[in-house]
Symmetry: none
Subunit: 420 residues, 2 copies
């Protein structure tokens, strides 16, 4: 008997038929003698619908009220899954964010989980009841509903798993694991059996879209073993396992020899590029740009600074999620006098391509190989950043698929015989 | 300056354009210097969608989880209206049922409001903030979400108005007031300027459908002045008023002389007639029929008993909502031995016509006039019941429109020159 958390994404919860399927999976784990807590997303499309309502109501909507609106999606699926479980004879009840409570800070619309009291969930489990918990939502100190930002349900699941000291957090989604790259782009992409938290962080943050970045960071911090697997497909790989396990470096160490230099390649079309022209080149200049953006809760990703030829000013380029571009431009306009830049350019027709792998740490030449492979196909690189286990470039959105395929082959990731 | 509650129904909240229209109406009252609390319904169609999800998930759904699901509809519109108000520069925030809290009993899915703490709403109003409150929902003593039953938002609005001692509770809907009868049947129907709580109760319960019956009962008990008016049409009547005021007898008294004997005529096609043949005529016989029906939650309306010519048995006729007819017949069949009736007849092709008016109390002959008017047109009366301010008859469904028109003219209710 083990304690496990099962988390189901929006595709798995899209409609009553699928929710019934989820209930059957949960019953399966209960029947195996496990104590189960379930974390659910809203039905696929529902959060978008609610977000669009807010935007339509006012482009500069109050994040507190936005949270009231969008948290409803997971509230609905929680109640429905509890009903579906009861219909299968499995005792279950929903516990909303404010009922547990899942305490967060007051960064409405992108709140961070503080503490989850494990007592209620533990008591429910002890009497054989499945606790159904809406992902994505919590409660601020003021007693108002908060949400964790898009994709936040994964983070909720990992946080619950940490709180109740679960043996494993199973994230059920519409893919059967983490791949070397998007199989829709590269049919020869391979499913990975295990990846490290760090690799997953880089893959997720650059758009692998399997797991929310924050959830992986939290899993790493709390040492929660996470498994990503399919809600729809029960097939096992050659080792008899399902999905992809995301674990610490220590668990990877043993099969290190067999691992590729590069673990995966990710593409992200959800970015927008912003360039501030002729920012005066003085100490603290960059802080005047990024402090107000951070205060506006705008997620800046890549930052590239090029000193201009006159040596007195500099162009600063960075990327933000496309959804936050308008707000970012607003912030920059109000700060124009402080920053002192001559102008702003922005471009939404860009994409970020990243190659990721812990093997990179001990190997030189990974970045150079990337630049060469792209140059050989005439793909222009607009910006570059690197980290210990990742190299990312910004390119024209039109070349995304070509770039990913070229790199997948260049790093020897193609499966030998068949499409995955 | 006055305190007022404004309530907007599902049609008024159906989509962001309409929610913006609602926000503008609220702003109008704020600009006139009023302190305003707003109670909102879910978008039209949304509650049906959520109810259907629950039914699909399990026909025997848990009412506690049903409430978690369906309460989401009003949560969404509350947040959206707060956003729309802020966009117009009106300070506003949503207060969910569990946040105020609106305490109810634990009759999940059909809960009754106990107490509403006026302190929070009062404090919000005092600092010039509009409190936006989702209708239909509350919180049980166990800290779980409850809902009040369909149409419950009207009741929420009246309860909030009573709690904050509002001068008036304005119910905005898709009609511009209460009419002498359905204007689709009688083009000469007139909008009523004022009706009493009791008249409204009779009109609502027999199918006027403008306000939920429970809300009128609560308004009468708490002496809340209610006004029904249109969200879409700003036209005023000859006296410069909008809508219909629902008030106590005392407020009617002053213009009593000008009032018609009959206030309105209602038709209800949603009834089915059941007749039990030859029920043994002994003490307690009627209880053996209606106790099990009540225990089966079947809403019996009219009851008519005719002693048969032999003096030993009696035919008992009553009406139930058509949707409950099958269940009612089931109950009667299982109780046949106890009741001892010789047979059951039922008829769904019937309708109930009621004439309503407080003036009836002091005037004889209202019922007689009704019977004569119907007889003159050859309309057969199948059953009759009367109350202090109402006379109802059951007739063949085919004659509903004719009966209503005939009675509207007979009681002098036709507008003189034009269609209303």
């Amino acid at each position: 008997m083990a304690r496990i958390v099962m988390k189901f994404g929006g595709t798995s919860m899209a409609g009553i038929e699928r929710i019934r399927n989820v209930a059957a999976r949960v019953k399966g784990e209960v029947d195996r003698g496990h104590e189960v807590a379930v974390v659910v997303s809203a039905m696929a499309g529902e959060t978008d619908r609610l977000v669009n309502f807010c935007r339509e109501a006012s482009p500069l909507y109050d994040a507190k009220e936005y949270d009231v609106v969008v948290a409803a999606g997971e509230q609905i699926t929680s109640g429905l899954l509890a009903i579906a479980l009861q219909a299968l004879g499995v005792p279950a009840r929903s516990w909303l964010g404010w009922q547990l409570p899942i305490r967060t800070n007051d960064a409405y619309a992108s709140a961070r989980i503080g503490t989850i009291d494990a007592e209620i969930i533990g008591a429910a489990m002890a009497k054989g009841e499945v606790a159904v918990i809406p992902g994505f939502q919590g409660m601020s100190e003021d007693g108002r509903i908060t949400t964790l930002g898009r994709g936040g349900s994964d983070t909720s699941a990992v946080a619950v798993a940490a709180a109740i000291k679960a043996e494993r957090c199973d994230i059920y989604t519409d893919v059967d694991g983490v791949y070397t790259t998007d199989p829709r782009i590269v049919p020869k992409a391979r499913k990975l059996g295990k990846v490290t938290y760090e690799e997953m962080l880089e893959l997720a943050s650059v758009g692998a879209k399997v797991l929310q970045t924050r959830s992986v960071g939290l899993a790493m911090k709390e040492k929660v073993r996470v498994r990503v697997l399919s809600s729809f497909d029960d097939s096992k790989d050659d080792d008899g396992h399902r999905g992809t396990l995301i674990v610490g470096d220590d668990e990877i160490e043993e099969d290190k020899m067999e691992r590729q230099l590069i673990t995966g390649i990710a593409a992200d079309k959800n970015e927008a590029k912003v360039t501030l022209l002729s920012v005066p080149d003085r100490p603290g200049a960059v802080a005047t740009i990024f402090t107000p953006l951070a205060e506006g809760n705008i997620n800046v990703d890549m930052i590239v600074q090029n000193v201009a030829s006159d040596g007195k000013s500099t162009d600063v380029t960075f990327t933000v999620p496309r959804a936050e571009l308008t707000r970012a431009l607003d912030v920059l306009e109000t700060q124009q006098a402080t920053i002192g830049h001559a102008g702003v350019k922005h471009d939404t027709k860009v994409a970020k391509i990243s190659v990721v792998g812990v093997g990179m740490r001990s190997h030189a030449g990974v970045a150079a190989a990337m630049f060469k492979a792209l140059a050989d196909r005439g793909i222009n690189i607009q910006a570059i950043t690197t980290s210990e286990i990742k190299v990312s470039v910004i390119i024209d959105e039109d070349f995304v698929e070509l770039a990913v395929r070229v790199l997948h082959t260049a790093y020897g990731l193609d499966a030998e015989d068949e499409a995955a």
